[in-house]
Symmetry: C2
Subunit: 346 residues, 2 copies
DNA sequence: AATTATTTTGCAAGCGCTTTAACTAGTTCC
DNA sequence: GGAACTAGTTAAAGCGCTTGCAAAATAATT
């Protein structure tokens, strides 16, 4: 490692004190403009780059934002983790902040990990995602006074913290209406077990639209499964398709499930969308590549991440500013898995 | 932010000096085992967590590994960025190191960014990926003496640094042989323009197998395009499919192109694989979801990332240890886009 | 019991920067 | 001409930890 120059080296070289050089570099008003320019030039000439660790220790700000990555089954990485992380990184990068990714060990508690991340002073703030209905992380962060933003929200508390969520409630209601208009009466909901808020919201959206409709012919078959268990998923998919009175329209809580559903339906001779309409959620890349293309909602991941980065930066800068809550309207992407309800066989 | 305890607080509480406590926490041999236990217990009781910034400044090691994310066209994030980053994070996390993601601004130079990342002392080492034939980053890192590992390698220099690469050369030769055995004689290579080494290696693999074969009936149509320009890609795909003597077997340098090729071929009435065999590379998730499923090579991204993390940690620990060079054999995934050569129309 | 070896602990000097409070010049004002 | 300012600069005290070296305490040796 080649020896790097320190602030004192630069100060000595300039015949100034370290204090002045530090302030000059930071563009403090109180330093003469001429001096600032002289310092900047010398810094460039000497190739001086401030040591960020020392800056962090002295100033109390690290210039890092944290994000925890729970380690689940291998290869089961969130399909838009790349997009999300990439947009976050860019959003922070624009303001000179970098993203610190921290792995939560498989057997470890996410809360504990989060706590150590913040009390060890590695980050200026964090973004938490995959919020659960009664997520304890939010209370933890609040009690620690650490700037944070949530991607998603609590089920019954949307106050007192900053969050950004995609409006699954509206989306699923919209999906229901679309399919109802197309003549469907027998509905299915293919969901997951986890207590994630987004699941609850989406389900609620469907339920509300369903209840509000009031058509007595309406039926709803609700099947859910564990997300990380392939066998359970297959069983759930089979379950929702079973019997002569199976649904003609199914909403899947996420595209991954929708894809499995399509495959399974097709393999048992059903035509999508002639016999069965399917609408997913997320718009993962594969949704465009299956045949027929999956009709789904685009979750606008990159855009959400960009906004989250901006929101977190704002909180770090002004920790007591009013909280910011944003609901992103997901965009319906019409492809080929929805259609008019099949004629009832005689 | 609740006040956090410092090492001195803990030392005072224990009636020991900070030095002893520091060493005890670090499990130094010279501290009595009994004292170590006492300190550990007190630390737990008081909820003491060392400040990592201070540790970094004092010890010279940050506990961070860096990875640069060049910001290209929005949404064009590398399809396995998520998988890669996730596996890297886990690999580092196992040893208490975290991954720092730094965004290279769209208009900025990656070299300069990398240089500032390392001279500012934010990281103990870096992993660089998407190595180009004459990548300047490697020389830069070497000259700075920073521990690093490359995902990929230089075209003409595989010595003097640590790298891990997927063996695209062998893979493409294998793909050629497979298709030749199936009767194909008119080959196509759909590639990209960028001077990335992996492209060169894969192309070379095909060329070598092609030249070694020597069958005079063999033809090879080579078309390439810019990777980030959808129009150029479409044109390239059209080009490789044009004319009555179009190839019956095409190797695509990456799955993304293969997918576009399938779509285009099908839309002009060609049957895959009856009229046209296609083999890709990478095994992105969508490869399994298109119809027919794409025959391709699995690049083993997660496994590579895990190994890279391990390699970098080894270099950080022993910067002058011998370099480690690893070639990962990609696995051929046989799905539905390859088949026997079509009978020549009379 | 005196001496030497060994184990345990502490002093103090940083790591490279930020920041408070104070200090020095140069102006202005009455 | 000295008080009262203003602008520009600096001394010095950390930020919370690590670590080389030395001291103190304890154990082993003769």
């Amino acid at each position: 490692m080649t020896k790097t120059r320190t602030l004192s080296d630069l100060a000595r070289h300039l015949g100034l004190s370290p204090a002045t050089v530090s302030r000059a570099l930071a563009q403090h008003e109180q330093i003469a403009v001429k001096t600032r320019a002289r310092v900047a030039q010398a810094a460039k000439d000497l190739g001086y780059v401030p040591n960020r660790t020392a800056q962090a220790l002295a100033s109390g700000r690290t210039g890092f934002a944290g994000f925890l990555l729970p380690m689940r089954g291998r290869g089961l990485a969130d399909p838009f983790l790349g997009e999300f992380v990439s947009a976050l990184t860019e959003g922070f990068g624009a303001k000179g902040v970098e993203l610190l990714l921290s792995a939560v060990p498989r057997d470890g508690s996410e809360d504990r990990h989060l706590e150590s991340l913040i009390t060890s002073g590695r980050v200026d703030g964090v973004v938490v995602s995959r919020i659960e209905c009664n997520d304890t992380r939010i209370a933890l962060l609040l009690s620690r006074g650490v700037p944070f933003v949530a991607h998603g929200r609590l089920a019954h508390d949307e106050e007192g913290y900053s969050w950004l969520d995609t409006d699954g409630e509206v989306a699923f209601a919209q999906a229901f209406d679309l399919l109802y208009q197309a003549g469907h009466r027998r509905f299915g909901l293919l969901s997951i077990d986890d207590p994630l808020t987004f699941r609850e919201k989406r389900e609620a959206g469907l339920r509300k639209a369903y209840d509000a409709n009031g058509d007595p012919a309406l039926t709803l078959r609700h099947v859910s499964c564990s997300r990380y268990d392939a066998q359970a998923r297959a069983k759930a998919v089979a379950g929702i398709l079973a019997g002569p009175d199976r649904p003609t329209a199914i909403l899947a809580i996420a595209d991954g499930l929708a894809l499995e559903l399509i495959a399974q339906a097709q393999s048992q001779g059903l035509s999508v969308p002639d016999d069965l309409s399917i609408i997913g959620f997320d718009n993962i890349p594969s949704a465009a590549h299956v045949t027929p293309g999956l009709t789904t909602f685009d979750a606008c991941i990159a855009d959400s991440a960009t906004q989250l980065a901006e929101m977190l930066l704002a909180r770090i800068k002004a920790p007591s500013s009013p909280h910011d809550q944003r609901l992103v309207r997901p965009q319906l992407v019409l492809r080929g898995t929805h259609g008019v309800a099949p004629q009832r066989a005689a």
